[in-house]
């Protein structure tokens, strides 16, 4: 499975989801938390604003080797994400991807109820926030967003919907090049437009795209999107020569990266320290039944590493388990004692 193009099959569009644990943030900490909840026999749902798993890894550096994951001398970002998804998969987590958690309220029993911007309501025994640096928002195309939903997209969760199209991909990162390679066999044409002459994407990915014969147009910006109803063409302009061209396009993919901020979480009444959530040694926040783990937490001596996030989320989920069921043991047992 590719973290940049595929969504796990359990994605649910249900309007109401009942679960034991809701994890907000599908980065490495959140995915490991999904495994841990499943390992404890808890039902788990994972919500993330991005339409893909992996959080910052998938969005920013899927091709980077990571050297500080215990047991892996070197692991490529996307391989780590794939492994985490596979580790949680036997427990059937419900993925609520492409959904931003916007509101926290309580049901009549005081249990958390989280609403997403797409209208999903999740009732949970406990919430674990693994939101990293916050909610990612795609950088808008400077030429405008008038054609959003009418040919202009930020993500390519299902490449087949662009079959037969002339496609212009804007950006120079891994997502832009990955989508160029993925869409090439389906599209009538694919062109990649980048405003610089250097790319953030991994060199091997760039070479792959070149070898597919995809035209890479550098030092060039998209200046206009045109089409009365659906997108029909885009105009581009060279930054130095100011030469303009018009390209046929039924799809333009704006892969210009992201900005991140805490977003709606800031209004949930959580005790914050700077732009992070204060937690105690149980990873409990200031709100009942709400825990946090990973880069988003803060306490004296905090070290922001994926390795630390793994440990914190295990602490958070196991403590949440004892809140959901006061009879439950804090210690989950050793995984070696369980048969798969």
């Amino acid at each position: 499975m590719s973290v940049l193009t595929d969504v796990p099959a359990t994605t649910s569009a249900a309007d109401v989801v009942d679960t034991d644990i809701l994890i907000i943030g599908a980065g490495p900490s959140g995915l490991y938390g999904a495994y841990y909840a499943g390992f404890r026999g808890l039902r788990v749902a994972v919500m993330d604003v991005l339409p893909q798993c992996g959080g910052q890894i998938s969005a920013m550096y899927p091709e980077k080797p990571i050297f500080d994951i215990a047991g892996f001398p070197s692991v490529r970002g996307r391989d780590l994400v794939d492994g985490l998804v596979a580790q949680a998969e036997p427990y059937g987590p419900v993925y609520l991807l492409g959904q931003r958690a916007v509101e926290l309220s309580r049901d009549e029993d005081g249990h958390p109820v989280v609403r997403s911007d797409t209208g999903t309501t999740v009732r949970a025994g406990a919430v674990v926030i693994t939101g990293g640096v916050g909610t990612f928002t795609p950088r808008p195309l400077p030429a405008g967003e008038d054609h959003l939903g009418r040919g202009q997209v930020y993500f390519v969760p299902d490449p087949t919907v662009h079959t037969g199209h002339d496609i212009v991909i804007v950006g120079g990162g891994d997502s832009a090049f990955d989508w160029a390679a993925t869409l090439a066999p389906l599209a009538r044409s694919v062109k990649l437009v980048h405003r610089r002459d250097r790319f953030r994407a991994h060199g091997a990915t760039v070479e792959k795209v070149r070898s597919l014969g995809i035209e890479i147009i550098t030092d060039t910006e998209v200046t206009g999107l045109h089409g009365a109803e659906h997108l029909e063409e885009v105009t581009i302009r060279h930054r130095l020569t100011k030469d303009t061209r018009t390209l046929p396009a039924q799809t333009v993919v704006a892969a210009l990266g992201f900005t991140a901020d805490l977003g709606p979480l800031q209004n949930w009444g959580l005790e914050l320290q700077a732009r992070r959530i204060a937690v105690d040694t149980r990873m409990a926040t200031s709100l009942p039944r709400v825990f946090a783990a990973g880069d988003i937490t803060d306490y004296p001596g905090k070290v922001r590493l994926i390795a630390v996030g793994f440990g914190e989320v295990a602490t958070a989920v196991n403590n949440a388990a004892t809140v959901i069921d006061p009879e439950a043991m804090l210690f989950p047992g050793h995984s070696t004692e369980k048969e798969n």
């Binding site: 910052q56 920013m60 550096y61 980077k64 640096v133 990612f136 990162g173 610089r196 250097r198 790319f199 953030r200 990266g257 992201f258 900005t259 991140a260 901020d261 700077a274 732009r275 880069d295």
Partner: protein, 108 residues
């Protein structure tokens, strides 16, 4: 960990890095840009954006500039009584317009 902007930025300030930074943690002095080491999430987006190749990850950066980037935020800048600290975003703050003594005194 954080990324660090080195001396190649002085008097150039291309600002491409500021457009790429997902957490808006690159602040503008008078002659140079500075990355807030507390706010940086270590993604590396700025490193490739810089046409001067002035940006490096901290362990590979010149120690002198690693410290100087930190000082821009932790020590009061010339003419100020309070350090910048962690403003939580450069856009809201705007150009600071002052440099650290090291950068202010650099040969042009």
């Amino acid at each position: 960990m954080a990324y660090v902007i080195g001396p190649a930025c002085v008097d150039i300030m291309d600002r491409s890095c500021m457009e790429e930074c997902p957490v808006d943690c690159i602040y503008e002095g008078e002659r140079k840009l500075y990355i807030n080491p507390v706010e940086c999430i270590d993604c590396g987006a700025c490193e490739t954006a810089c046409p001067e190749q002035a940006i490096a990850v901290d362990r590979l950066a010149k120690p002198e500039h690693r410290e100087d980037n930190r000082r821009f935020f932790t020590e009061p800048l010339p003419g100020r009584t309070e350090p910048l600290g962690t403003p939580g975003g450069a856009t809201g703050l705007g150009p600071v317009g002052v440099d650290t003594p090291l950068v202010a005194g650099a040969a042009s």
